[in-house]
Subunit: 452 residues, 2 copies
């Protein structure tokens, strides 16, 4: 389904940006040596050697994965450098550009970029993966889990050279936050059957969504907003890293969850940003967020990802009142979700993980009043520091997929005592995206002053 | 017509790579300052502010240029850096990658990249322009003419901020080597009329070409060769810079032209390269090359670009005998071209400047026996050294367009006593492209030993 959404403007790849601090004494040409090592014969394990069976006919009903016997490592792994002064801004520009170029479907759909030239001899790894190969919720976890817990381990290869475990890993086991793509796709396929036309299947999703919207979030109606316009091909990316402990203290004071604080910080940032552009809607913005639920009819022990719509209370000026409204809204939505069947939850999952499906009905794209204004997701990541050959992973920022009608995406990933925010937006529809990241950081202090 | 050929694999943009040696005392952050200056308000003059009227419908018969009032300078001008050690190889990799990404048709179709991090504090300018905006024969000239003759001039802006002359410059006046794209397009349009279908027009070109081929190059028949396969989306680019004086000495000894020497060097390089891959055809490779001619029915004073097919004599082992065969072949072809009408010459021009047209008939792409194996062109450039704010232009390498069935393109540009060769190829169809550049350089000494 992610393939159906692929077009020049809406590219269905997700990515992760991982800056590292090298160990003392690391030679300045260490990335060049790493590249030489990879070229000399790094192994490429599944799924990183999977490519599409019919890349020129993405919609082919016989589409599937085949193994590429001879993965061109020099194509998939690339070196880059940021221009002077090598600050976060220059890194953001480079990564926005890398994120804006499409993936070649004639090869395994991923790229890894070793980025040097950051201030203080630091470097970064940027990995781009098509959503069809590794879904967005798992991508960051797969990448960080490929790193080492041991700063002294110096010969660990990059993620694609790490053999897969004997049994297929069940993502979500660890903390219930993920859903495995093949599982999801199989379920969606079973629901719609292989013979139904794609258009029909899409209409089913849209219609059932509308019906469920009513049931689920009856009090909410997303206002028209500049975030819900058509997008261009260019991306902007901005990051923010905040201490989990500070956010948990606020969650406790507000009688809510860490997710509620993420929503409140996003809400404060969006309110200030849209106000400055003189584009703040009078009604509250509506966020769609994936949550982990257990369905009432699910006899197995697994979790599923459901979606809820929550008010961001952007019409409320007072920070304390705003977060209280958000907490109430998400509580209400989650209670309703508990009563849903697994099939209904999976329909939501499909809609969330492939928001582009709505776009497939050409007339709706960027024209209809949106069901929600922005997708905000939070994916749990490792809590212990990770290393690559002694270099410490500083942060792990997820980059997601803006589509027509959803020009901004906020995705968070927790890592080693921090929440790493990734703001991915359309360069033209969401100008000065960097401000959203800055305001998000400033909103934390504001909430502390209001609540603690 | 160049727009019709646009697809993910065959992108119709040309480019120039221009390395510079900065003046002594240039501050290390000079490119950052230049970027700040451009962002602060550099003007963008025509044609650099032209964009397509209907970018989502390239084939629209009402397609045309409109002026973009608000050119996003930060989008079109970008900073990049090469990773360590900043040598020609790393520059080649970066530029290949930049050349492999498509141009956004929703904006004026050009990009300029300021590339830092080259050895010895050097930098480079890489400019990508869609063929429909500035044709390949003029692009390098437009770019180098925008530079200064005066090393002391320190406030000259980049090419897009230089106002166009009062009257449209007639390219080709200077040395007869160019043809102005709008003129060509207008002529082609007049020939086919606006109402004829594109498919019909294309068939006309193909059929007349076949008829003319027979008339023109009857003794030549291009052999099947790996260069004439389908291509992928990735590019490789390699460069070579050779002294014009050395090449002229060989031309004189061989009783030929500078172009003949370019062909002989390309032939020697291709022979050695293909032999190593065990893929040298038994018959001689056939090159298509644009030449400047005056048609028999042209009453005006202008020149036109015609095309000739010439044998590369790659079946001949002896360098002296090989260049003699090439000289005889080009002489014969040029004599025949003199007898052609201007209309016929323009048909050839269209075919040469947009080789993708043949690809538009899907079944022929990469399957039919090729009419020629490789396009080799030579575009005269400025003979005096050029400067940008005191930085000396070292060389000006043209990058051209591989298409399905023509996976390699050799384009030369003369500059300040040198001939700059640009080898643009498909990364997958033409492996180890760098070797072609190296062998081309070594062939010069070989010819000197054989002839002088």
């Amino acid at each position: 389904m992610f393939l159906y959404g692929e077009s020049r403007e809406t590219m269905m790849h997700v990515a992760g940006l991982m800056p590292f601090t090298p160990a003392p004494g690391t030679p300045p040409d260490h990335l060049r040596r790493l590249m030489d090592e990879i070229k000399a014969g790094a192994e490429v394990f599944r799924p990183w050697n999977f490519k599409l069976r019919t890349p020129d006919l993405l919609w082919n009903p016989l589409q599937g994965w085949v193994e590429e016997a001879n993965v061109d490592r020099e194509y998939h792994v690339r070196r880059s450098a940021v221009p002077m002064p090598g600050d976060e801004r220059e890194l953001g520009i480079l990564v926005s550009r890398l994120h804006g170029s499409p993936i070649d479907f004639h090869r395994p759909p991923w790229e890894a970029h070793l980025i040097e030239g950051l201030e203080g001899g630091r470097f970064a790894l940027y990995v781009k993966v098509h959503h069809a190969l590794v879904d967005g919720f798992s991508a960051m976890r797969v990448l960080s889990n490929a790193l080492s817990l041991d700063p002294a381990e110096r010969d660990r290869p990059l993620f694609f050279s790490i053999p897969p475990p004997a049994r297929e890993p069940r993502l979500g086991d660890e903390d219930g936050g993920g859903v495995h793509f093949p599982e999801l796709l199989a379920a969606v396929r079973a629901q719609y059957g292989a013979t139904k036309s794609v258009a029909r299947a899409l209409m089913n999703v849209v219609q059932s969504t509308r019906a469920k919207d009513h049931e689920l979030v009856s009090p909410l109606q997303a206002p028209r907003c500049i975030l819900n316009a058509r997008i261009s091909r260019s991306r902007r990316f901005a990051t923010q890293k905040l201490e989990t402990a500070r956010m948990r203290a606020i969650a406790k004071a507000a009688n809510g969850t860490l997710n509620d604080v993420i929503l409140a910080l996003s809400a404060a940032s969006l309110r200030r940003y849209l106000e400055e552009l003189d584009a703040l809607p009078t009604g509250p913005l509506v966020a769609m967020l994936p949550v982990s639920v257990r369905a009432k009819d699910d006899l197995g022990g697994g979790n599923a990802v459901g979606a809820i719509l929550a008010s961001l209370a952007t019409h409320v000026a007072d920070p304390a009142e705003r977060i209280a409204t958000i907490v109430a809204s998400t509580k209400h939505a989650k209670q309703q979700l508990q009563g849903m069947s697994k099939a209904a939850i999976i329909q939501y999952s499909a809609l969330i993980t492939a928001p582009s499906m709505l776009q497939m009905i050409p007339t709706t794209a960027g024209h209809l009043r949106p069901t929600f204004n922005v997708v905000i997701s939070n994916v749990p990541g490792p809590e212990e520091p990770r290393y690559f050959r002694g270099a410490r992973l500083e942060a792990a920022y997820p980059m997601s997929i803006p589509v027509h009608g959803q020009a901004l995406n906020i995705t968070c990933n927790s890592y080693a005592g921090s929440v790493c925010f990734g703001f991915t937006g359309c360069r033209d529809t969401v100008p000065h995206l960097q401000r959203l990241a800055v305001y998000c950081g400033e909103a934390l202090g504001e909430l502390e002053r209001a609540l603690l």
